[in-house]
């Protein structure tokens, strides 16, 4: 594998105190779809900003297409495309005008640009709306326009910062299709970030789980799930008594963790262990109020490596950022 993105011990400290990225090291191979999965504030956007030359790193080494991003930012800019997290398409231009401007900024020849614009607008199904002002577009249409803008100069590496943030399930699925198509039809490398587990799971060849500026795990979705080693039984037991020890004593139980009244029990085989486990608890006088058996999924992978569930991690700063950005945009124009 030839690495097209190489990051070594990257650190970014904001204002001398906020360690947004705290010493991460990873490589992305040419042609790969690589994803950063992490909650709000994990450092995903910061990493992308450094790799796309928008931000000066504090320390470490970053190369994109073999070029050092700090030493030769202009060269790097030529070979990458960026679809940023916030929507940057210009409201007061039409979709086509936005694309033309982008083509000019990336030095695409006018004739070639015109052809590609038609092609790309068809790809993201915006032909009909192409000559309408972008301010009449829905959020999903803007995102799609943004994606096609990022593709106009056929970059070797495309950075997608939360490509489906704020989109409904249907539009999100369409977006996934677009990204899969890209992968099928070209050798473009995609570096994306997301905080949707299903998205990382279904799109990415490899996933880096990032939390608080650190990479907690990095592998293919399948291996990450396998690494959990078997199934997970979640239990709730009423009362204050700690049953962790009794649970651990049951045959087939790999480990057990208690978190305010609920237990996460890793077992080799859920089907055969559940009955003896429940029996053991009731024998010790516990009354089980909830039980569920889950095969490993990305949410559990996340929980395993960061110690909290992604949904909890999101709770802290959770609000619909898209809606907020949208409101700001509207009130301003």
């Amino acid at each position: 594998m030839t690495a097209i993105i190489e990051v070594k011990d990257l650190v970014k400290v904001y204002n001398g105190s906020i360690r947004a990225v705290d010493g991460i090291t990873f490589e992305v191979a040419e042609g790969e779809v690589f994803g950063f999965l992490g909650p709000n504030g994990a450092g995903k956007t910061t990493t992308i900003a450094v790799l796309t030359t928008l931000l000066q790193k504090t320390s470490g080494e970053c190369k994109v297409c073999g070029i050092d991003v700090s030493k030769n930012p202009t060269e790097v800019r030529r070979s990458i495309g960026l679809v940023p997290q916030e929507m940057t398409v210009d409201d007061d231009l039409t979709g086509r005008e936005n694309m033309l401007l982008q083509a000019t900024l990336y030095g695409v020849e006018m004739k070639v640009a015109k052809e590609r614009i038609d092609e790309l607008l068809a790809l993201v199904k915006l032909e009909e709306a192409a000559d309408r002002m972008v301010k009449t577009y829905s959020g999903g249409m803007r995102k799609r326009l943004e994606l096609s803008e990022g593709l106009i100069h056929r970059p070797r590496v495309l950075f997608l910062d939360e490509p489906t943030l704020g989109l409904d399930i249907q539009t999100r699925t369409t977006m996934w299709e677009h990204i899969r198509d890209l992968r099928k039809n070209s050798n473009m490398t995609v570096f994306m970030t997301t905080h949707y587990l299903e998205e990382a799971d279904s799109l990415c060849d490899r996933i880096g789980i990032i939390d608080k500026g650190k990479i907690m795990a990095l592998d293919t979705p399948i291996k990450l799930k396998e690494s959990l080693g078997g199934d997970v039984i979640s239990l709730k037991i009423s009362g204050e008594t700690d049953f962790t020890e009794s649970i651990r004593s049951v045959e087939g139980v790999l480990s057990a963790k208690r978190e305010d009244g609920s237990y996460r029990v890793k077992v080799l085989n859920g089907e055969t262990v559940t009955a003896p486990l429940l029996h053991e608890i009731s024998k010790k006088g516990g009354s089980v109020t909830y039980v569920s058996l889950e095969r490993p999924n990305m949410d559990q992978v996340f929980l395993e490596y960061t110690g909290r569930s992604l949904r909890d991690a999101e709770q802290s700063g959770s609000y619909d950022r898209m809606a907020v950005a949208e409101r700001m945009r509207r009130s301003g124009s």
């Binding site: 030359t53 960026l82 940023p84 940057t88 007061d92 000019t104 900024l105 990336y106 945009r329 301003g332």
Partner: protein
């Protein structure tokens, strides 16, 4: 460089003419000023005190042209702040274009807008003179092609100087609120400490000293000499023009340096 700069400049201008309301607001202001303010302030001064203008309204109309150019340039800063807010500026920073294209395209677009606005005000002032009950600009010189080119040159230089200043300020300042504060801090002093609305002779000495080096003064002084026969300028015409040229060159250079620093990655 030229292709990207032009494309960005055209984007700015498209924004402008598509926001019809903005143009309307811009024109409503001088109309109100010429229509009301001018009537309410019928300064009875002899042409000698008015730079050769036949009446105060003619004198003030010329000032209005320059002030309109100033205001238009100030508001060019707003769009810069919006672009930062919505990430468009970052998109430009990520693009493989010479960074200089960003301030240069803005300055050019602001300059063009300012000149067009000033010319529209000129047209309004010229029409107003012919409407009974209203007053406007009465031209008394032998206005020829050279005078027209002179006027245009003066407006272009003035607008270039101011747009460079405000584009640089807007790129350095990150928020709309601060930009408004700075604009408010600058606009009235710039306008009143100049010969735009009132003759400098009637000002106290210290104000006169400031007014005499204000680019607005140079611009109106030059334009009045082109528009009114027998106008004795504060400076000779060529000094006005050279002064404006110096102002715009220096301010554009400073503006671009400041802008490039503001666009650097942190």
């Amino acid at each position: 460089m030229i292709r990207e700069t032009t494309a960005l400049m055209v984007r700015e201008l498209k924004h402008w003419y598509r926001a019809k309301i903005q143009i309307f607001m811009l024109l409503i202001q001088p109309i109100v000023w010429l229509g009301l303010f001018g009537q309410a302030l019928p300064l009875q001064l002899p042409p000698a005190a008015l730079n050769g203008a036949p009446d105060y309204m003619s004198y003030m109309s010329v000032g209005m042209l320059a002030v309109t150019a100033l205001f238009t340039c100030m508001f060019a800063g707003m769009s810069v702040v919006w672009d930062r807010r919505f990430g468009f500026l970052n998109k430009l920073r990520a693009a493989p274009i010479p960074r200089g294209a960003i301030p240069v395209s803005r300055i050019l677009a602001a300059m063009i807008r300012a000149v067009i606005s000033a010319l529209m005000v000129l047209l309004i002032a010229l029409i107003f003179t012919h409407i009974p009950g209203l007053a406007g600009l009465t031209v008394t010189s032998n206005f020829d092609v050279m005078s027209a080119l002179g006027m245009l040159l003066i407006l272009v230089l003035l607008a270039t100087a101011f747009s460079a200043v405000f584009v640089a300020i807007a790129l350095t300042i990150k928020t709309q609120e601060t930009l408004f504060a700075v604009i408010n801090l600058l606009n009235l002093p710039l306008m009143f400490a100049s010969a735009a609305l009132f003759p400098v002779n009637s000002m106290p000495d210290w104000l006169q000293a400031v007014a005499k080096v204000n680019p607005l003064t140079l611009a109106v002084d030059g334009m009045r000499q082109l528009l009114f026969s027998g106008s004795v300028g504060i400076y000779p015409l060529w000094v006005d023009i050279l002064g404006l040229l110096a102002f715009s060159v220096v301010l554009v250079v400073i503006g671009i340096v400041v802008a490039m620093r503001a666009l650097k990655e942190k």
